[in-house]
Subunit: 260 residues, 3 copies
């Protein structure tokens, strides 16, 4: 794994990342994608998805502000990602909080085109389906790796469960990432921006376990750098977008990742 | 009234504030809610409103970019707020500027679940319904308190009319707040962010006259603090989000409120 | 042409700019319009467009995140702009990238109410319709002025093709603007914000060739000023919004425009 090499590849080739994402974060997601070096497209009209996904390098679906019309677009995008062999990342925002979100996430997974599933531990659990077995999301941290691994095997993809520590598995290889900052919890859309960053790595490296770890490290190290200059969440958000654009090879020495 | 005690309650209990708000401000509203210490949810799909409102601590409807599909969601949310006894704040953005907005605002008020109605003086006037009696919005400042008080009585809720001075009444108690800064007029969505802040206080203090005054003071003092470090509207917006997260008890000495 | 005089007119009269624009940039567009001195409205509900456009001073349609429902609103807005004699600026974002976008842009142009058409060279080319004749967007820079001029004649409006240099023509008068900064390419929505700025000039000066040049100069000089204080795209965006609010007459000495 050479993260910086893949970051350079993003900066040189400027892959197109097709986003179907939520209203809250569209601007931040577009800006972090641009600052990273990739090219964001945000489009959801059913009539143009085929034109656009056929020329994209990766597809990112985030269900944060879904409704019946957008759900239709998401399902079409999931199908087209398969048809055109474009890697798809699914962010099942709020899965578990409403039945609608859980069901839509499962439907999208059903197309078989999702290569990376990324959520917080509550969202990941809701898709694992054993609600009864586990009391509360916070108690999960210890058992998390097993669930992530099982889910990855079940759906044959890479699963990322984010939190204080991030757990990544493709069913064979496992990693825990311990980078990050509490500031991520104080702004909206940090998970959504992370999705844009991982999608960009996924566009240049189709070993999705590797691109997942690379995206996580890059985003979280940028967050650690940004925190130093920030006096609150408002300035942190801005500095985060600045930081990710100025990451150099040396910064990856800050990586705190364990492969299990 | 102990504003700081309620602010601390927000920071400790992190109440869930369900937003149905406009596209322009969703990001800022989510970020100011997080910085204040509460938890924003932004969701409008009819199919999931019951799941989400039943677990919310307050509901905030802002009609800023309404259309027929979103109006349906707003009406369902108004009904569910009553059903689940969740306090609802209505921000009738642009009421008076189009018949559609006035009508939708009146319809939402008709559900009887709105506890706080917050608008600028033009919007409040449009719902008062005596357009003919008053010439122009700006001439209102003197007579404002009476209109606010009457409207509060009529609908049995707390009414806030914002402007250079803010008028608050629940039909029995009246207050005028003289904090704030002209910078609020130079960024988009300052009224919308104020709605998020008052909704957060409403979630922890169900004396809505009190939570209205508390939210106004907190937001406007944060604005006064932010202005000092700002070189324009771009930096003011960012500093405002930072400031509200670092308000301490001592800052409430800046309060300029009169109870009438 | 006296740009500063028109800027002063904007600041004094605060023209209402009705936006139907995309989800990604709504917040930035509203904020740059406010900072410039004009008043943004963002509204798309079919039921209220006549109420709102009849009182607007200019209309700005940007198709960035179009879908079937928003397309309907855009067409109604194009018709109403004609009916009420309000100048309309069209930003055909992504025209050429999907057939849907090209078709919608041509439909809007068909109403005859568009006074300024502004896009990047690829978008402008897609509406010129000679795709086969030119290989790749980047090779266009030399031949651009002719295409812009022809398109302006064909539709009887002012055409702006943006890029490293910006080409403006109303079919009789031509200008090239060489201001700007590479930072515009590193944030999302710089073209969309430019659309808001030009629309504001269009509202106070109905010589659309002149208002196009004025808007371009003002926005791009603000960008050059902002760049000096920025450490990345996050801070550049914020500084850009600050800068445009503090432009003085002397800054127009930075103008680099040639009339051909």
């Amino acid at each position: 794994m050479n993260v910086y090499e893949d970051l350079e590849k993003i900066r040189k080739t400027r892959p197109l990342i097709h986003h179907i994402t939520n209203f809250v974060v569209m601007n931040d997601s577009a800006n972090i994608t641009l600052s990273l070096g990739a090219s964001p497209i945000m489009a959801h009209a059913k009539e143009e998805l085929e034109d656009l996904i056929s020329i994209a390098d990766a597809v990112y679906i985030n269900i944060g502000t879904l409704d019946s019309s957008w759900i239709e677009s998401m399902l079409i995008a999931a199908e087209l990602s398969g048809k055109y062999n474009k890697p798809l990342l699914l962010d099942p925002v709020g899965s578990g909080a409403s039945k609608l979100r859980t069901n839509v996430s499962l439907k999208i997974l059903g197309y078989g085109s999702v290569k990376i599933l990324k959520g917080n531990s509550g969202e990941i659990l809701s898709l694992y389906g054993q609600k009864g077995a586990i009391k509360g999301v916070d108690s999960l941290s210890e058992g998390n790796m097993n669930i992530v691994e099982e889910l990855a095997e079940k759906y044959n993809l890479t699963v990322i469960s984010t939190g204080k520590y991030d757990y990544v598995s493709d069913g064979k290889r496992n990693a825990v990432i311990k980078n990050g900052t509490e500031m991520f919890g104080k702004i909206t859309g940090s998970g959504c921006m992370l999705g844009s960053v991982i999608s960009s790595f996924m566009a240049v490296n189709r070993d999705y376990f590797v691109s997942s770890v690379e995206g996580l490290l890059t985003f979280e190290i940028a967050g650690e750098l940004a925190e130093k200059f920030s006096s609150g969440p408002g300035s942190f958000r801005e500095n985060l977008i600045d930081s990710i654009g100025s990451i150099e090879e040396k910064h990856y020495a800050m990586s705190r990742v364990e492969f299990l």
